[in-house]
Point group: C2
């Protein structure tokens, strides 16, 4: 599977679209808001540049895409008002893989600019927004051109399925029944990818520039004690349900593995230090409830969580198993979710890290 072609959130604004099923990702952005605001205030306390250049990596398309950008503009605008400083120009670079629905984002920009103008008036500098398609596991921007890089809930997606996980039978990610080499293969792939990410960004960010990354993580060093795997195990179970029905081949389940990894804080810290281009200013873990999950309303919650998972995995699953199974698969998944629903299952671990380019 070519990850670049298959790893994309569902486009458009239909029922299964990422745009309509990204409440979880919105919650993450709001939860990590203070990291963003504090970082900006700290980095600009001495001097505000004439043009503030920021990249949002893995921007996807939908209501969250411009949420972070709005926060950044709000924070800088407020700083300028308070200190009676002239507003900078803003250069905003939105990045995602080439299959992302950039057209949908671009069509919302005229209204976004209108709103900025209405809310902030003439005091705000012009805001220039571009889309940059490509994998962030490589270079995306010219050398030393960025003040700030932000990425929320994207870096847990790997550049490829790790090599050497052929024996992960019946599973689609690290599971309790996975052989030990599977975990190591996933960990190694994350190490390679995250190092490449840091190295690429280190060339693009100005000295003293900042980077704020948020991604799904696990709370324990031992990957098998983490509750979050349950979602993927239920998805594998739903796929396996379809084998006796003749809708899915067992060998297709065996050969499907997600290009996804949930690191722990210790791993993240070690990789940043190894790579050596950035100083870690803050590294923190936070837990939060899936906003779709509600123990008193299991069936509706299970359906919402199924829709959320579908919006981010449909393209990958369809490219491996074919499009025809998708509706059925997520109906099965929602059913399993509702049956096995527990408070644990709706809790996510996020890792957020703020760093400064040396």
């Amino acid at each position: 599977m070519a990850v670049e072609n298959a790893l994309c959130m569902n486009g458009g604004d239909g029922e299964s679209s990422y745009a309509n099923n990204s409440l979880l990702q919105k919650k993450v952005i709001l939860e990590s808001r203070s990291f963003l605001v504090d970082t900006i205030k700290d980095m600009l306390k001495i001097r505000i540049p004439t043009c503030f250049k920021v990249a949002d990596l893995g921007c996807s398309s939908g209501p969250n895409t411009l949420l972070v950008i709005s926060e950044i503009i709000d924070t800088i605008h407020e700083m300028c008002q308070q200190t009676n400083t002239e507003s900078p120009e803003f250069l905003v670079l939105l990045n995602d893989l080439p299959e992302n629905d950039f057209n949908a984002i671009f069509k919302t920009l005229p209204a976004f600019h209108e709103r900025l103008k209405k809310d902030k008036g003439d005091k705000l500098g012009p805001c220039f927004i571009s889309g940059t398609p490509g994998s962030f596991y490589g270079r995306l921007f010219p050398s030393q051109c960025l003040h700030l890089v932000h990425s929320s809930y994207s870096l847990h997606w790997l550049s490829q399925v790790p090599r050497g996980v052929v024996n992960n039978k019946g599973n689609i990610y690290i599971a309790k029944s996975s052989p030990p080499n599977v975990f190591k293969a996933y960990m190694d792939q994350f190490h390679t990818d995250f190092s490449m990410f840091l190295c690429s960004r280190s060339k693009e960010i100005l000295p003293g520039g900042r980077m704020i990354l948020t991604f799904i993580g696990r709370s324990n060093v031992d990957p098998n004690t983490n509750c979050c795997y349950d979602l993927w195990e239920l998805l594998a179970k739903s796929l396996l349900d379809m084998v006796p029905e003749g809708l899915v081949k067992e060998k297709d389940v065996d050969s499907f593995n997600l290009p996804y990894y949930e690191p722990c804080m210790e791993e993240v810290k070690a990789i940043i230090e190894d790579e050596g281009s950035f100083n870690v200013d803050r590294l923190q873990m936070f837990e939060f409830n899936d906003p779709n999950g509600d123990i008193d309303n299991k069936y509706q919650s299970a359906q919402s969580m199924a829709n959320g998972l579908r919006a981010v995995t449909e393209a990958m699953l369809a490219s491996h198993f074919g499009e025809t199974i998708i509706d059925n698969l997520f109906a099965k998944f929602a059913k399993h979710m509702a049956e096995e629903f527990c408070q644990e299952m709706t809790r996510y671990i996020s890792i957020v890290t703020c760093m400064t380019k040396k």
Copy 2:
């Protein structure tokens, strides 16, 4: 009609797509190639910057979109090879209105990068490509950030239908039967728009940076002596044919006017001088045959030319008259074209101008 929503080339790669009906625009790019190459050689003869920043305005989507960029990279790569200089990085900013099919462009980028790597090897600096949606009759990029701006066959599209052309009954553009105020209204709108274009670019281009613009023009100061109007008159005639058939309302034809203008060289020169930010290095007119036109094969030529016109006007026409008339309209247009086909009709006038930011 909101031009920003209705003025876009047909997306995708279907039969009526711009991608499959832009041979004429390709020919223009090839015809004006020497202006581009000479300009680059001249501007870089003293020093090649570490990152060469170029914007292509009105890039559309299709095989032509990256043609100019390829030319630019080829020229600079060759200069570097000849002088044994290290290749710069390239920042390419592709601009069009937000409704343009940027997704289609972005999906072709991985193959474009592959080809560059294959053709040029490691000697070529990395090439970073972004899409910037928005009207070029306003600011698009931060201040003083561009070395070169290019635009081919876009600037004859106005920002809006000129005000005061309500009495242009039975016509959709300046026609032999248009009242005199219609021509003046069109000329004034072009003056306003082109001045705004120059003013916006003058803020974005570095001092000494260049701009190369190519657009449809007319050869005579008197607009009524130009053969090229005939195409629009035939399109108006095709619309009027549908009035007695009950498919189009006469008042809808009367109220439809194209946001389009063919200036003459004298006007272009005067506006650039009036605006004052640029020195005109070259200003030239060239005539060429529509590559779709072939006097020995009138019916096929007429069909190809109808397809070409449809690809660039369908969105506008559909937004005013409704989508249902489009097939029928262009069938009528192709028929008229074939009947009235003459060598004159397939000749286009282009104006190309190269300028330097003061």
